[in-house]
């Protein structure tokens, strides 16, 4: 799916919620439905550095698309991680490099993406882009 369409879909989905309780419950539900990483992928090298909750991320190239898988030990972070995976996974390296997760602002979750937030989400997005750059270089050779 086109990444802008994914973005619009997420924004529409979150537009349904009236208050923070519903929004956070939905985020937690998204996290619980995330196709998580097997335990053996919870390694130091897959760990995205965050101060409080931990995020693990893997990336593979399928054809010319990047497939991300991720997990977190905290429920809210995991939901936000699931949103990022929905957003970026299955896109081309160029699309990933060139698109920022603007929906996070629009659904009122901007504070979770702040680089000073200790949940590792900002580092995760950075790491996803680094993977995309590496795959782009690989595809070019």
């Amino acid at each position: 799916m086109d990444i802008q369409e994914v973005q619009d879909r997420i924004i529409r989905e979150f537009g349904l919620f009236e208050d923070w309780t519903e929004k956070y419950k939905h985020i937690i539900k998204l996290g619980s439905k995330l196709d998580t990483l097997p335990e053996e992928d919870h390694t130091e090298s897959n760990l995205v550095k965050g101060c409080q909750s931990q995020v693990w991320l893997t990336a593979d190239l399928e054809g010319d698309k990047v497939i991300f898988k991720a997990d977190s030990d905290a429920a809210i972070t995991k939901g936000l991680v699931a949103l990022m995976v929905t957003f970026y996974s299955g896109q081309s390296p160029d699309t990933i490099i060139g698109t920022n997760p603007e929906f996070i602002n629009k659904i009122g979750m901007a504070q979770h993406l702040s680089p000073t937030r200790a949940n590792g989400l900002a580092s995760m997005v950075k790491q996803m882009k680094i993977y995309a750059m590496a795959f782009k270089a690989k595809l070019a050779t």
């Binding site: 923070w20 956070y24 101060c51 409080q52 909750s53 905290a74 429920a75 809210i76 972070t77």
Partner: protein, 415 residues
């Protein structure tokens, strides 16, 4: 610290005291703020805020330099805090009070200056398992440079120091014992008098991290006989960026400067520079003058309430909170030492501390979540972190009740 007077004098009107803290009169996420993160930073009373404002509005000039009136006045105001600190902790001499930027800076000063001069290959530095990173890393850095070794006093499942572990590792090789007075992660009050005396018998010096102790109790450095005692202004009604290192005069005099620059010199030539006297030898460059002046007002405020009263009131609130929290199903208090002060760390079954902290924040409750800069403590208990409610005298029973309600709500939320 373990002999806290628990008779609450009726003369203190705690609601009036609380009303002096403007930051508490606000809503966060639509709910009245309950501030229980005093262990990270306490709030400032109106008098300290006004004092800093007045300094900037009418008194600002550089200190220790100018002959002009404004500079003299700024110097007087800034130096007045030193005497207030001396009195507060009952140091013998004014020059034993070194201004720093905080506890971390104070410990780095000792590790760097004392360590560089005195530590040798094979010497040992004894810290404890419950130290804040600020009382671990500076020692690791100097150990690497000098060949000294870091040894660790273990703690038990209640979060108390195992004194056998201390005595087993204390020897003639021990050059420094660096231990926290009150643990920031667990609230444990350590038997520092015993540690100090035993260390001295072996010829070791002792540094006490008092960041969580001075704000909550009467600390008398002469009675304790600590060689160094470090604490921060921002945990005791003062502003950030300011702190204190107390050191015994005869030890400080033998220590080389920590940083070079203005104010710390006696005479500078390109051949040789001689140092200024204590305390200025350790205070290079233009200091945070407004913060120092504001801290003085913070100490005045604490004295007006009375440190004895503060200690007793906080003990009452900690006991109230411990009682209430213990009754919550699925809540485990981490750190159950017999002697505890101001800090309650806890976990909720099946809920990550970060998740719980996020929901508590939505309910207007400010607590700290995470490892509290004490990763070895979390490693000891095999947990990723805790939620920490840290209490100050301006909190009240209502704050604790709101915390309890919000925890119940958090459990429902993730249930």
């Amino acid at each position: 610290m373990d002999k806290v007077n628990t008779d609450i004098p009726t003369k203190v009107n705690w609601e009036e005291v609380r009303a002096q803290f403007p930051v508490l009169r606000q809503k966060v996420n639509g709910k009245p703020l309950v501030y229980l993160d005093n262990g990270a930073s306490s709030q400032m009373p109106q008098s300290a805020i006004d004092r800093i404002d007045a300094y900037h509005s009418h008194e600002h000039a550089n200190v220790h330099r100018g002959i002009h009136s404004l500079s003299q006045h700024a110097t007087d105001a800034y130096e007045a805090t030193r005497e207030k600190v001396r009195k507060l902790i009952n140091a013998r001499y004014l020059e034993e009070i070194i201004y720093t930027t905080g506890t971390t800076d104070s410990i780095n000063l000792v590790a760097s200056s004392y360590g560089r001069k005195y530590f040798r290959e094979g010497d040992e530095i004894l810290v404890s398992e419950m130290e804040h990173h600020a009382n671990i890393v500076p020692w690791q850095l100097i150990a690497e440079q000098t060949g000294a070794r870091l040894k660790v006093i273990q703690m038990n499942e209640h979060g108390e120091l195992i004194m056998d572990s201390f005595y087993q590792q204390l020897s003639e090789k021990t050059k420094m014992v660096a231990v926290v007075h009150v643990s920031n992660a667990l609230g444990t009050i350590n038997p520092i008098e015993e540690i100090i005396n035993a260390a001295h018998e072996k010829g070791a010096k002792v540094l006490i991290d008092g960041a969580q102790a001075v704000p909550h109790s009467v600390v008398d450095v002469q009675e304790l006989n600590a060689d160094f005692y470090a604490f921060s202004a921002h945990k005791m009604c003062g502003p950030t960026g300011f702190g204190i290192l107390y050191g015994k005069k005869e030890i400080l005099e033998e220590m080389p400067p920590y940083r070079g620059g203005g104010d710390m010199i006696d005479k500078v030539t390109f051949e040789k520079t001689t140092w200024n006297d204590l305390p200025f030898k350790f205070e290079a460059g233009t200091p945070p003058i407004a913060a120092g002046v504001g801290f003085g007002a913070g100490i005045d405020f604490l004295n007006s309430v009375g440190m004895d009263n503060i200690a007793a009131r906080e003990q009452e609130l900690v006991d109230y909170a411990t009682g209430k929290l213990s009754k919550i199903d699925g809540l485990t208090i981490v750190g159950t030492a017999e002697h505890k002060a101001s800090v309650i760390s806890f976990l909720l079954d099946g809920i990550h501390p970060t998740d719980a902290g996020t929901i508590l924040d939505k309910e207007g409750i400010a607590v700290r979540t995470g490892h509290h800069c004490a990763q070895p403590v979390m490693e000891h208990f095999k947990i990723p972190g805790t939620l920490r409610a840290s209490i100050s005298f301006y909190n009240n029973e209502d704050d604790i009740d709101r915390l309890v309600e919000a925890i119940e709500y958090t459990k429902e939320f993730f249930g």
